[in-house]
Amino acid sequence: MTGALDVNEFVAGYLVEVEEHLSASTANLLAVEAALRAGESSPRPIRELFRALHTIKGLSAMVGVEPIVDLAHGMETVLRAADRAAGSLSGSSIEVLLRGLRSIEERARALAEGKPVLPAAPELLAALTALDLAAAPSPPVPTIGADPEILAKLGPGERVQLAQGVAGGRRALRVDFTPSPARTAEGVNITTVRERVGKLAEIVKVVPLSVPASDGAPGGIVFALLVLTSAPDEEVARAAAADGVRALTVEPAVPPAVAALAEREPDEPVDREPQLRGVVRVEVARLDDALDKLSALVVTRFRLARAAAELRARGVDTRDLSEILREHDRTLRDLRGAIMRARMISVKELLERVPLVVRGLGRATGKQVRLEIDAGKAELDKAVAERVFPAIVHLLRNAVDHAIEPPAERRRLGKPEEGVVRVSCFERSSNQLELSVADDGRGIDRALVARRAGRPAPESDAALLDLITLPGLSTLDQATKTSGRGLGMDIVRRIAVEQLSGELAVSTSPGAGTTFTLRIPLTLTIVDAFSFLCGDQLFVTPVAGVEEVVEIDAARIIRGPAPGEARGGSMLPAAGEARGGSMLPAAGEARGGTMLPAAGEARGGTMLPAAGEARGGTMLIERRGEVVPLVDLGALFETGASPARRALVVRRHGAPFAFGVTRVIGQQEVVVRPLEDPLVRVPGVSGSTDLGDGRPTLVLDLVTLSGRLSAGRGGRGALVWVAS
């Protein structure tokens, strides 16, 4: 006898599986709702919902979470009936089932946090029991032309699914896959075939068939995949490792209305069966631990390199050691890549919750909103994903609550009653993700924003963004139920810019809509960085933020007009426009020996006047016909008298900005440690790193710094060379 099963061993895995099922179920339920609005039934999503709830029930019973067993059981009963009715569910069921999913989620979260798991609410269980499934009409079941052995395995839901697909313009096909030991050895099995076929077609059913054993089917089985597709036959056959495909005839038993509606959604997501073969789920804490160990290794590598350099300087032959170090570098870089990849989640996964958010907002505001999501194939670090999601929710709230007009107003304006919110995302480079939330609403009223902020009306979108991200600003007379506290764009900016070292931009057009764009790093902790000297002080900055490193030709530095009069699109406001707060910490506030100057106290030979005092104006350099403001970082940070010989060019809101440095040392990966002390958390400094000498080196966020300097936030120190 083995005694009791230690369920604690399985709780973490249980929570992961429940979360996955809940996430997929929410998406499926919203798909059912959309189909219901269009007059369609939803056999596949309902089948999957049923299965997910059934699995949650079984798992919860094993782990002993009875409240979730009760909830899942109640929902499963509703869904089983709907499945038997070929995927029909009454409209009133959706809300109750969504409440059920939320209740399960709340209880799973309580379990994860070690809190008591509350019993299922009796009124919710009663509501589930009371759902009138008979109200849902069952669609007529179509006739499918296929072998009797296959027909015997097809349920009404699958027949309807095939008929809807054909009515929507796709072909219904049968394609056979024959497994064999040889194919298995090559990695071709029913799971990989499903994955490959699933990319070209919606798999409706897979039927295993007994056949006499032969060379082709030594096991005596063949899998018949019944699919809906628009792809060429040969491609489908190739994906299934089959010789060809067979067409299935489908009698048009689907009502015309359903057929017409089915055509409107050709992008019905293909088979959503999660492909989990070969996937191991790992707790994020374990990945964090691995990353910490890796970080320690990266620092040790710097120390090794430094020790080798010292040996070389003493005349020791270090060729063997150098070779080992190079190999060590390569391995470490590979290891870093492997760990970072393991931490990545798909943006699609991140955005799975968005439809539910928009649905709730639409209902709360009484607005009709259609959500379009283009998640692309990008991936980002889970830690970044968790931090950026609240910002996405803020933007969605603003879009639905503030931007999209009520249906009557849209009608009056000649717009469709249904507003559109589009969330799209793509990877800009190997280090940066661009994520935008766009609406077709009323656009931001610049005059109103300016009035509320007590400022002049902003002329550019960038200036408008500065206003709407002022803390506490709201353009609504009353806080609404959904947004609650006005725009809250300061929070979005704080997340995007300050927490993630990213960038936020807006473009808006009266009556036509607004687009907010977030540019954020894919990962946070280990980044490729330039290290450079300003005077004798070493700094680093992420490579991702630097557009170009250029030589500074002192003879070609242009003295520009006084601030506020700059030409060529590099408009710099006067220092007097600075809004509160010092850009840089006072001297002594920075930890770890990298002292920052108090504003305006710059020492050394490169003393530069404050903006407006710069011997008649700002300093600019010319780069390929573009005028670029230039600030000497050495002067800014009072790090010595060496003149700036090179410049790191960054771009913010499309405008370039150059930072003069004494010498660029090189490019290397660094581990960024956040500056946790609020006294040293300042815009422009995103963290610190250890380059192997045991002393912290500041990691500069030059994009943010350029923004602050352009805005004149630096007070006198801003300075400074606004050699531009």
Binding site: M1, A4, M62, T191, P208, G220, F223
Partner: protein
């Protein structure tokens, strides 16, 4: 020592089954779907199948019917472990050819005892 195929679309559930049977030193293979189970069974021999009923693509009942329709697999013991504890499900499952029916949540002792008994018998109870 026997070769056991554990079929369940839930990884946690498969791990729980294996944890309960770990003491017996059996060999275990996993299948995450009914299709994977049928493919695996067609390509190599097993002494016992522990099978869930509710799975994507094809459910456990279809897997049982398929197994019982194959001469080579007709006497393979099948232990069904399912959340469907109602009498109708039990009757349908046994009628389809399952050797034994056990509901979730199960205890390690119960599943261990069933597996021992089925392996000793070496034949399917029904079908």
């Amino acid at each position: 020592m026997a070769e056991i195929l554990v079929v369940d679309d839930s990884r946690v559930m498969r791990e729980m089954v294996v944890a309960c049977l770990r003491a017996e030193q059996h060999g275990f293979a996993h299948a995450a779907s009914g299709l994977e189970a049928i493919e695996t069974l067609s390509l190599r021999p097993f002494d016992l199948v522990v099978l869930d009923l509710n799975m994507p693509d094809i459910g456990g009942l279809e897997v049982i019917e398929f197994i019982r329709g194959q001469d080579r697999l007709r006497s393979l013991p099948i232990l069904v472990v399912t959340t469907r504890g109602d009498e109708e499900s039990r009757a349908r499952t046994l009628a389809a050819g399952a050797s034994e029916f056990m509901t979730k949540p199960f205890t390690p002792d119960a599943i261990l005892a069933s597996v021992r008994a089925l392996l000793q018998d070496g034949v399917a109870g029904a079908g």
